[in-house]
Amino acid sequence: MKLEDVAVLGVGMCRFGVHRDTTLTELAREAGLKALEDAGLGFRDVGEAFVGYMQGLPMLGIKIMKEFGLTGLPVTHVENASATGLVAFREAAHAVASGRCDVALALGFEKMTEMAWGGGGGRGIGRDAIDSVILPAAFFALWAMRRMHERGTRPEHFARIAAKNWNHGAKNPLSHRQPDHKVTVSEVLASPMIAEPLTAMMACPVDDGAACAILGRRDLAQRLRPERPRVSVIASALQTETYTPGHTFLGPVVGPASMTRDTARQAYEQAGVDPSDVSLALCHDAFANEELEYYELLGFCPEGDGEKLLEEGATQLGGRIPFNTDGGLIARGHPGGPTGLAQIHELALQLRGEAGPRQVANARIGLAHLVGGGSVCTVNLLKRN
């Protein structure tokens, strides 16, 4: 069996946000049970599980999976920083594609609001102190400042992307941020500066959440939900850094932007599609300027034309290639482990035509992209058929 014979059978998530009075276990259980119900399956049908989170004690995933029942199923932990959820998804898809099981579950959960900050990329590899003085926000700001220098990009461009994603969030009941008014460019620019030129409203929030996807053989999708368009996995690419001149090795978030370009090419090749075939894209917009870079690196416009694509309105709902239709990391939220599975949740709804007020007309192929810690990238393509 091939990857394209694997379908997303069901998805479920709880709204991302600050969940002070809900435990991690409760969040994970809610997302998992919703996904099973959406698939029309019981937990006994699940042949294998992949659990993703960025922090927590060893065995946390196995312990949480007991909430669904003790059936003896194999459980594997996945951690790839911000990319964790999509990598859990990728492993579940391959578990089905390999014939190891008929149904696999990918579950991500996290309480970022309880995360012990202060560590960086060097934590645990023997250079804790020197590596952790620079914030992730600073790294992406460095990227933004260089682009402004090279291409004349203005902070208004970044603010426009942020405002777009905030406003997309308003159309998503599961989004953390749901503004009660139309967020404007000037409002984003006026919010407190974090790392020049990035303001607070250009950055993702700190939040909690859980999300789950059930993957299975394509014929099962047909049998379980015959009335529903099938959503197949047509590509799942994962890469770490390739050495390039100008590489930085020290600091919490390193890695070349070209990693996204290389990973996307691999995904398009695997699926036999072009960027022009893609109906919508979800990307790692932890900071708004990233999304501008990914327009180009994911192949939706030539290098240097990102601002033009944005100014044309192509990447907002109703545009040629809407980006982050569910609000993205900036509005929907970015709790870490579950983020990628929230993207799969959105793509599944969009490709089934169930996305309500934010539905992309005739959505046929959806793309989910995340980078993790600057050092890992994954691009996944889902298709309606």
Binding site: V133, M193, A195, E196, P245, V254
Partner: protein
């Protein structure tokens, strides 16, 4: 240089030199690959480019060119600094090849892409032995 008489120790060993004369700039401790000549910071045993293990230590700096920078307005990790003024962060291209990500010394308006910078050591805090714990920074050369 009021702290000239105090012993200085690095925040972490193996990344930079601490000259005996506090007015001297430090060097960064890097690696040069004998097979492909690529130079790296920080030090590594295996060449990231050609995978050769035939590598040697090399000193880098003290000068470089600012490739990009930002000014951060939230507190810095790993220090006891609580000043609300923020701090600069940059990527600095060394003539030997490596691009180094580091904290910059100076105010919000002191940086521009392409400017020349020089390494310096900055004291973060005093440890229990009464030694100064130092880290490397880059500062605009004009401000030297």
């Amino acid at each position: 240089m009021t702290q000239a008489e105090k012993e200085r120790v690095p925040i972490e060993k193996g990344f930079f030199t601490i000259p005996r004369d506090p007015s001297e700039p430090p060097s960064l401790l890097g690696t040069r690959c004998r097979s492909c000549s690529e130079v790296f910071f920080p030090r590594r045993k295996v060449c990231a480019k050609c995978l050769s293990q035939d590598t040697e230590d090399t000193l880098l700096g003290p000068r470089g060119t600012l490739y990009t920078y930002t000014y951060v307005h939230v507190p810095m990790f790993g220090t006891s600094r609580t000043d609300a003024q923020g701090y600069g962060v940059g990527q600095v291209d060394l003539p030997e090849g490596p691009r180094v990500q580091a904290v910059l010394s100076g105010g919000a308006e002191d940086f521009r892409i392409g400017m020349e910078l020089e390494l310096q050591l900055e004291t973060l805090r005093e440890n229990r032995k009464g030694q100064d714990v130092v880290i490397f920074r880059f500062r605009p050369l004009a401000a030297a």
